[in-house]
């Protein structure tokens, strides 16, 4: 099941080797511990830099959007096998 969302989420991250790694995501009253960061890509919205994190655990794929200006995280895609 593939769902497109735009929900604000709380994300716990690790800063290591000049990289940000999302560790867990708090969404809809539940906490999801992420196992792997599969891809990180950036894009510009005007002069604003946005980063997208494609992360997954054993059963879910999540795409997160980080707005570097507001430091707001949003869950924008959820895929469950």
């Amino acid at each position: 099941m593939h769902t497109f969302l735009n929900d604000p989420v709380d994300v716990t991250v690790d800063f290591a080797n000049k990289r940000i790694q999302p560790l867990s995501i708090r969404w809809d009253g539940k906490t999801y511990a992420m196992k792997t960061v599969n891809l990180v890509h950036g894009a510009r919205e005007g002069s604003k830099r946005i980063f997208y994190f494609s992360v997954s655990d054993q059963t879910n794929f999540m795409k997160l959007r980080l707005d570097t200006e507001t430091l707001e995280w949003r869950l924008i895609e959820l895929y469950t096998d």
Partner: protein, 417 residues
């Protein structure tokens, strides 16, 4: 493109690398989402969710290709063939980042790099590698760095040869994940083993014309004299004669040329019938074109318009204007007049395209009259807004109902232009 240029006479054998991603968009999607790996996946052209039911397949995963899914197939046809095919919406921002990453890796290792498409590039290794052994080592390093920086699911095929034609042919000969090295003394024998359709520059039409004169393979093509090929194909005969012998362009060109035209076209999700719908969409296209002109510092003196109906029948026209323009409304009013002269009003419109040419690099010229100056100031303010906040920050009230979905494929990504 460069491959179709005539061969250059160079005094030394060059070493050219051609790199091509395997099932590019699908592999990137499988890299991002591990639950798609190993499955028949296709990437749709535009839109998402229910819009994917009426899309065109831009890329199929290796697994999907194995069971008959092809690029440009309609999603309806693909689903009929493979009911459990997973069609995902394309994400151009993701693909453009991977394109930038692999080009940056190539630039680290090659003397010169020429981008050939979103997922293909040529690199010259003559000085960086020195010989074919060195070139093979560099190719392996490039492949490892791509796995590291783009993801291990993003695999590439690489061909190395003395020119671009044979490097691309070598690259295509072994997929996925191939590395094919053709040194100069092996070129002739290698090309002879390849099907005519594998040669970049021989499409279905040329292949069919060749078949009409009894040419069905590289070996039979070699038997045709240059005079006969010229007689049949005019100047293209020279290129065919050289290609059959593995002789091709070996000049890798870096850098971008200044644009000659700036245009935008769009295939609509449903065909346009009434004038208001056509006008609002044309105006939105004109705003996109003129924004890019102003952003890159151009004014234009010529416009072009193209319309395509159902059944892929289309018509185009162009016109010189008495005054240069850089405002979407000015472009629209001229484009609408031009469209009205060529349009068949009985046919619904499937695609509209508008283009500005006769480009002159200059700042937005100031006008003599107060009304024009007001427009000039407004445009400047709107451009400042768009530079700061991105596309979509403003639109004309009349274009509020237009919505152009980002295209997945093509030479440019929509969010970058």
């Amino acid at each position: 493109m460069g491959l179709r240029r005539g061969p250059k006479n160079t005094t030394m054998n060059k070493i050219i690398l051609h790199l091509d991603f395997n099932s590019y968009f699908a592999s990137v999607e499988q890299q991002a989402n591990p639950f798609l790996r190993g499955k028949a996946v296709a990437v749709g052209g535009k839109g998402r969710g229910s819009q994917l039911e009426r899309t065109v397949i831009t890329t199929a995963s290796r697994q999907a290709k194995d069971i008959g899914i092809k690029t440009a197939m309609s999603s309806i046809e693909a689903k009929r063939l493979v009911p459990n095919l997973k069609i995902v919406s394309g994400d151009p921002k993701k693909y453009s980042e991977i394109t930038k990453r692999f080009l940056s890796i190539l630039k680290r290792h090659c003397d010169v790099v020429e981008q050939f498409s979103t997922d293909e590039a040529f690199g010259e290794l003559t000085y960086a590698a020195g010989d074919y052994f060195g070139a093979t080592m560099i190719a392996q390093i490039i492949r490892a760095e791509i796995a590291e920086e783009c993801g291990e699911y993003c695999t590439v095929s690489i061909g190395i040869a003395p020119n671009k034609l044979v490097a691309k042919l070598a690259c295509e000969s072994q997929k996925p994940n191939g590395l094919t090295v053709i040194p100069p003394d092996k070129v002739s024998a290698f090309v002879a083993t390849q099907p005519l359709s594998a040669i970049c520059g021989i499409g279905p039409r040329i292949e069919s014309r060749l078949a009409n004169i009894g040419v069905t393979s590289v070996l039979t093509l070699r038997k045709i004299s240059l005079e006969n090929l010229r007689h049949e194909f005019k100047s293209y005969g020279d290129w065919l004669y050289a290609a059959a012998r593995g002789i091709g362009d070996d000049v890798v060109v870096d850098g971008k040329e200044a644009p000659k035209t700036i245009g935008h076209s769009y295939t609509f999700p449903h065909d346009l019938v009434n004038d208001v719908e056509i006008q609002t969409n044309l105006l939105a296209l004109c705003d996109k074109v003129t924004w890019r002109m102003r952003r890159d510092g151009f004014i234009a003196g010529k416009i072009g318009i193209y319309v395509r109906y159902q059944g892929f029948y289309g018509r185009g026209a162009q016109k010189n204007l008495s005054e240069p323009f850089m405002d979407g409304l000015e472009l629209f009013s001229n484009a609408w007049k031009l469209l009205s002269t060529i349009r068949n009003k009985n046919l619904p419109i499937r695609l509209l395209g508008v283009r500005a040419s006769g480009l002159i690099k200059t700042n937005i010229p100031a006008h003599l009259f107060p009304k024009q100056n007001k427009v000039h100031k407004t445009l400047k303010a709107l451009d400042t807004l768009q530079t700061r906040y991105g596309a979509g920050v403003w639109m004309r009230a009349s274009t509020m109902n237009t919505n152009f979905y980002e295209r997945t494929s093509g030479w440019h990504y929509d969010h970058e232009i």
